[in-house]
């Protein structure tokens, strides 16, 4: 009991960051460290060392619990009450997982009533120390402890959030990073032909990637760039005027936004086809939405260069 009272102030500490609590969860029952998350790779080694030492300390005495960083032990279930309390206290200290965990129920009931009240009654639904102990340590990846399927104990938001990101990182790393689209097309290759023409060499490759016809892309390019051009023998596009790769890239990006990505789900997996009435529709293959897109219009283009075909 004394340990608990001593502990209570420390437990009030503000929550630690997500990364911190994550580190705590990877220590297994016997002090082994499981590499369940890639985020805290740098931490694990240190912790594993610490864990061994802490175990001994636990058994010998709990006086130093405040000073030493103890790793939680699942095995504590079997220990007698005192030990348990010590272990519990020690574990809160370093990890500061969440305020919820702090009070060991049995003891708290008896001697530390008001502390428990402060805890907000809801937190403490787990009955006794024995059950509370393993709860903290459950391995989220293996579904033990707190994470057991049939466990009814409430799981704190932080833990859940933690698990979500852990799972996300391990199963779908591409989703976790940037959150944006990982849609990539090969960069356009631009060569200069002579002085006034640009060759867009890999247009067919890019079109295949976007699942659009060369003609449509070409039409868009010409309309946007306000120029004209032709296709040469090896299916490369010859554009009149000097353009740099960056400029073509910009236009392509606009094309993708306008005609490739699904506006609903942002998936690039779409099809463009002609619906009734000469309208173009983009159909999304992943969410099924269908949307009409504007036809490409060249608009006004000024007379540049020689004026010989002036309408005469």
């Amino acid at each position: 009991m004394p340990p608990i009272q001593a502990e209570s102030p420390t437990e009030r500490k503000p929550r630690k960051s997500v990364a911190f609590s994550e580190g705590a969860t990877i220590v297994d029952t016997d002090g082994q460290v499981t590499e369940s998350t890639e985020m805290n790779g740098r931490k694990t080694s240190a912790e594993s060392h610490a864990a061994d030492a802490d175990k001994d300390v636990d058994e010998v005495t709990d006086m130093f619990k405040d000073l030493t960083k103890k790793k939680k032990k699942k095995s504590s279930k079997t220990k007698e009450g005192e030990e348990e309390g010590a272990a519990a206290d020690g574990e809160f200290d370093p990890s500061a997982l969440k305020k919820k965990k702090k009070k060991k129920a049995p003891k708290a009931d008896t001697d530390d009533f008001e502390a428990r009240l402060a805890e907000a009654a809801g937190d403490k639904t787990e009955g006794d120390a024995a059950s509370a102990e393993p709860v903290e340590e459950g391995d989220m990846m293996k579904g033990t402890g707190l994470w057991q399927h049939d466990k009814t104990a409430p799981i704190s938001y932080n833990l859940l959030l933690n698990r979500f990101f852990t799972l996300l990182h391990s199963q779908h790393p591409d989703l976790a990073s940037s959150g944006g689209k990982s849609y990539k097309i090969p960069p356009p290759q631009c060569l200069r032909e002579g002085n006034k023409k640009t060759i867009f060499a890999n247009i067919s490759e890019i079109c295949k990637r976007m699942k659009r016809t060369d003609e449509h892309v070409t039409q868009f390019l010409f309309a946007e760039l306000g120029t004209s051009g032709s296709v040469d023998g090896s299916r490369r596009l010859v554009i009149k005027g000097r353009f740099q790769q960056k400029q073509i890239e910009n236009v392509l990006r606009r094309y993708i936004v306008e005609y490739v990505t699904c506006k609903t789900c942002r998936s690039p997996d779409t099809e463009l086809n002609k619906g009734e009435n000469r309208l173009y529709f983009v159909t999304c293959n992943s969410c099924g939405s269908r949307r009409s897109v504007t036809a490409i219009k060249t608009g006004f283009s000024a007379q540049v260069g020689k004026r010989k075909r002036q309408q005469g």
Partner: protein
Amino acid sequence: MSIENLKTFDPFAEADEDTGETKQSQNYIHIRIQQRNGRKTLTTVQGLPKKFDQKKILKVIKKKFACNGTIVNDTEMGEVIQLQGDQRKDVQEFLIDKKEGLGLDAKDIKVHGF
């Protein structure tokens, strides 16, 4: 009182019939760029609302952006302002500017080109 549904308006009518253009096709203002010889370019502003006097706009723009320009009367697009050089950004800002410009909605303006 008119009933919306009973209007005889064909939403699928060809938009670029130029009469329908003004009505339904959102009256976009297109700002385009064209390459000329060398590193010279031309900026065109198409679709300015009719309520503005293009001549006056051109006059202001020419002074402000220090470029020459002209008004071209296109059979399809109506009056189009042509400016020398790449003035896309300037023109766009000018059209949006409430105090010194036309105070148009940025959503109505489409800037084309690279």
